[in-house]
């Protein structure tokens, strides 16, 4: 794991309070926290692996699986909720056959619910990779998903 080593080199006088920033750097670089990375960080900081893993699972930001090719983020903020985003959530789960935080078997789609994205005037909002879709309803969602499925074929 060269990438992890490189990141660790940035923390020469490492202390316990560097743990979260290190994990964040690794996730930014690799996309998720691998088992090896967690072991390596534990060794570097002289903390038991279980503690590092325990900390990482506590926080919502860290993921332990790769994202799909198209990672869908649905805003589950209070405003989007009041604009009936639960209907799109349901539809998306039905359509892809996966739940929030999971990835489809072919690795094409993954999706997660996020807290407020800050675009409350345009809710419900969803983002696929870095492209945003606003005022999404079930019909629009189906069109969007269809578009990405067609891209793959």
């Amino acid at each position: 794991m060269l990438e992890v080593e490189k990141i660790l080199e940035n923390y020469p006088f490492v202390q316990r309070d560097d743990l979260i920033p290190i994990l964040q750097d690794i996730q930014d670089k690799i996309g998720f926290l691998t088992e090896d990375a967690i072991v390596q960080v534990g060794k570097y900081l002289n903390i038991p692996t279980s503690k590092v893993y325990g900390l990482a699972t506590f926080y919502n930001q860290f993921r332990f699986e790769a994202e799909g090719k198209y990672h869908i983020r649905i805003c589950n903020g209070a405003s989007c909720h009041s604009n009936a985003n639960s209907l799109i959530l349901k539809e998306l789960q039905k359509k892809l056959g996966i739940k929030s935080g999971e990835i489809t078997k072919d690795g094409i789609f993954s999706f997660e619910e996020t807290t407020c994205m800050g675009a409350c005037g345009f809710g419900p909002v969803l983002a696929i990779n870095n492209k945003y879709y606003t005022k999404v309803d079930v019909k629009k969602l189906n069109e969007i998903i269809k578009f990405y499925i067609n891209l793959e074929e």
Partner: protein, 648 residues
């Protein structure tokens, strides 16, 4: 840095910053107005660059504008600004031509940007997209176009904290300085001792904007009086409330003001190191803060021997990792120390023993932004605004079913009704108001009869909610109050850190009970209704236990959404329990379905799709639903192509 940049830097730090009485020579005034872009030689276009506008397409728009300028060889400058606060009208751009007032346009898209630019440069204004113009008597104004300050959105606000937002370039320290920025900090470190600053803040009666409303000056004094060679100030920018966005927009729009607030506050408690704890998802705000700190260091306003005063201050920005509980100060401290974000029992309070065991003050972003204002205009001025016990203004992020969602800053003591109807333009699509949820997961729902409640820490507490994070979500007749409460309970049970049992178990049980009363019972015997009703009695019990026994504020306030709705929306609970009906039609699992015999052609699709095998019938004959087996999922309703299934 360019030559001009160096000239500005020398002027601003050596001449302008220490000029506290405001008298300037003519040529100096001109430099200031040049930096502020009041007097311009070439057209200036500003574009709102913030999270909502980026989602609405501002990034693409910026490219189009640049292309437009290049293609037509117009000598114009494009400047990124923050947010005016009107998030539903983003992307907002402004165009200022030399000698004329600044014109704002709303909802600009790639389709109409060319016509807007073409029009404005050729003296034909696209009135449909115009938001308004800035009032400036020195410049020629446009006819028939309203002034921004005449819009009811701005008219009914008192913008102190948000004053610069949407007008200045958040990436430019020069502009912030030219608008009088860092003057309060300069005054502080040269003219006042830390004790004096604490005294001024205490006299101003500023209360923490994070939710509890603890007097800021008092907190600082405790930290200042505690003897320790190292002290810390933490700026809490970990909003993570699912319905609030004011800290995010405030930082994105005016990051230097946050830095100045931190700098003064750190000086007041004699801290030489400050942390900003910001949500990991706020990447734009993070970048802007980083940039602001870098610029301030470059200007000698942060770092070692600040402005040659002998005072040192380092600001470190830390990204949170996404945990709602880290909004609680002791949990936040644990998180910065590299532990799980779990609260500790108080006392000892952080002001005595906090980060790394040293005295630490944790303040919310908005609290800190108020500090430079108080130093600039005095404690007396500040305490003249607001109500008896709550001074100053309060920023809200208002969203949900209002006409004009966004950032709102009003004087303490303003009525809720005025915020919703006058500032935010009332309920969208002429629907009926149902409820307003204040304070996020630790707040509660208020009904129409509470619209005359005033914004004041204590007045809001009396209604059984709390100002909390000051996120406000307005619900209309299409929303179900129970569904809303269920949403917050779901959020809380996921976010509960699990260290104390009342909160860990209580939030989960409350969510379970709410789930049960918003869906149809699996086996319906005569006792079911009674059982469901008992569930509500349990809700009240659990809520009381949580309030009394939880370790931190998250647990103690977790029952607020339930208790407030039980108090003010009891009829909705009763409707769900006794009549098994959700008037708004949101709680789908409560619905019952029937098949209209005349419309059903017996295609068997519904029977095949039914997950609980509740639909019977032979092909080409009308089917029927066995109500005892139906779980009310609605799949048959969606599947039927002949509209033969009726929902009741």
């Amino acid at each position: 840095m360019s030559e001009k940049g160096n000239m500005y830097k020398a002027f601003l730090t050596e001449k302008y910053l220490n000029n506290l009485n405001g008298a300037l020579e003519k040529e100096d005034k001109e430099i200031v107005s040049e930096i502020k872009r009041e007097k311009i030689r070439k057209p200036i276009i500003t574009i709102g660059s913030n999270s909502p506008s980026n989602i609405a397409g501002a990034i693409g728009l910026e490219v189009s504008i640049k292309e437009y300028i290049r293609e037509r060889e117009i000598e114009a400058e494009l400047v990124e600004v923050g947010s005016l606060g009107m998030i539903a009208l983003e992307p907002i751009i402004s165009i200022q031509l030399p000698g004329k007032t600044k014109l704002f346009f709303k909802n600009v898209a790639s389709e109409n940007i060319i016509s807007i630019l073409d029009g404005t440069f050729n003296n034909y204004i696209n009135e449909e997209s115009v938001l308004g113009q800035i009032r400036n008597e020195m410049l020629e104004s446009y006819e028939r176009i309203p002034y921004l300050d005449e819009l009811s959105y701005f008219q009914n606000q008192q913008r102190l904290v948000l004053k610069n937002c949407g007008f200045i370039d958040p990436n430019s320290i020069e502009e912030y300085l030219a608008h009088g920025g860092y003057k309060s900090f300069f005054k502080t470190i040269y003219k006042n001792t830390p004790e004096e600053i604490c005294e001024i803040i205490e006299q101003s009666k500023l209360r923490g904007r994070g939710g509890d409303g603890y007097p800021t000056g008092k907190k600082w004094k405790i930290a200042l009086e505690t003897v320790s060679e190292q002290k810390y100030l933490i700026c809490n920018a970990g909003e993570s409330d699912p319905g609030a966005f004011m800290e995010r927009l405030l930082i994105e729009s005016d990051p230097h003001k946050v830095i100045e607030g931190i700098a003064i506050s750190a000086y007041a408690i004699s801290a030489q190191k400050a942390y900003i704890y910001i949500e990991s998802e706020y990447s734009l705000a993070f970048e802007r803060l980083k940039n602001a700190i870098k610029q301030a260091k470059d200007y000698g306003i942060l770092g070692h021997n600040i402005l040659k005063s002998g005072y040192n201050l380092d600001i470190i920005v830390r990204k949170g990792a996404g945990a709602y509980v880290c909004g609680e100060e002791t949990a936040l401290i644990s998180s910065i120390e590299g532990e799980r974000g779990r609260p500790r029992s108080k006392p000892p309070y952080p002001a005595i023993k906090g980060l790394f065991g040293k005295p630490t003050v944790v303040n919310n972003v908005e609290t800190l932004v108020n500090v430079p204002l108080i130093i600039e205009k005095g404690a007396e001025w500040f305490s003249s605004i607001g109500t008896e016990e709550s001074k100053g203004t309060k920023v809200f992020s208002i969203s949900g079913k209002v006409e004009n969602p966004g950032l709102v800053e009003v004087e303490m003591g303003t009525k809720l009704r005025d915020i919703i109807y006058r500032v935010s333009g009332g309920i969208a699509n002429s629907k009926k108001f149902k409820a307003v949820h204040i304070g996020g997961p630790s707040g509660g729902c208020l009904s129409e009869e509470h619209l005359d409640t005033i914004i004041d820490y204590d007045a809001v507490l009396l209604t059984g909610t709390s100002l909390g994070s000051a996120g406000m979500v307005v619900l209309d007749e299409d929303n179900c109050v129970l569904d809303n409460v269920k949403y917050y309970m779901d959020f809380l049970q996921k976010e509960s850190c699990g260290i104390c049992i009342p909160c860990r178990e209580g939030t989960r049980r409350m969510h379970e009970i709410l789930e049960n009363i918003t869906k149809k019972p699996k086996d319906d015997n005569g006792n079911t209704t009674l059982q469901r009703f008992k569930g509500v009695m349990q809700l009240e019990n659990i809520a009381e236990v949580l309030k009394d026994t939880s370790l931190c504020g998250l647990g103690r306030k977790a029952s607020n959404p339930v208790l407030s709705t039980l108090k003010w929306f009891r009829n909705e609970y009763e409707e769900h329990i006794f009549e098994r009906n959700c008037e708004a039609g949101v709680c789908q699992e409560l619905r019952t379905f029937e098949i209209n015999v005349e419309d059903c052609i017996g295609c068997t699709i519904c029977a095949k799709k039914c997950p609980s095998d509740a639909i019977f019938g032979t092909p080409q004959n009308a089917h029927f639903i066995v109500q005892d087996k139906c779980i009310g999922c609605g799949i048959c309703f969606d599947a039927c192509k002949f509209s033969a299934i009726i929902s009741k």
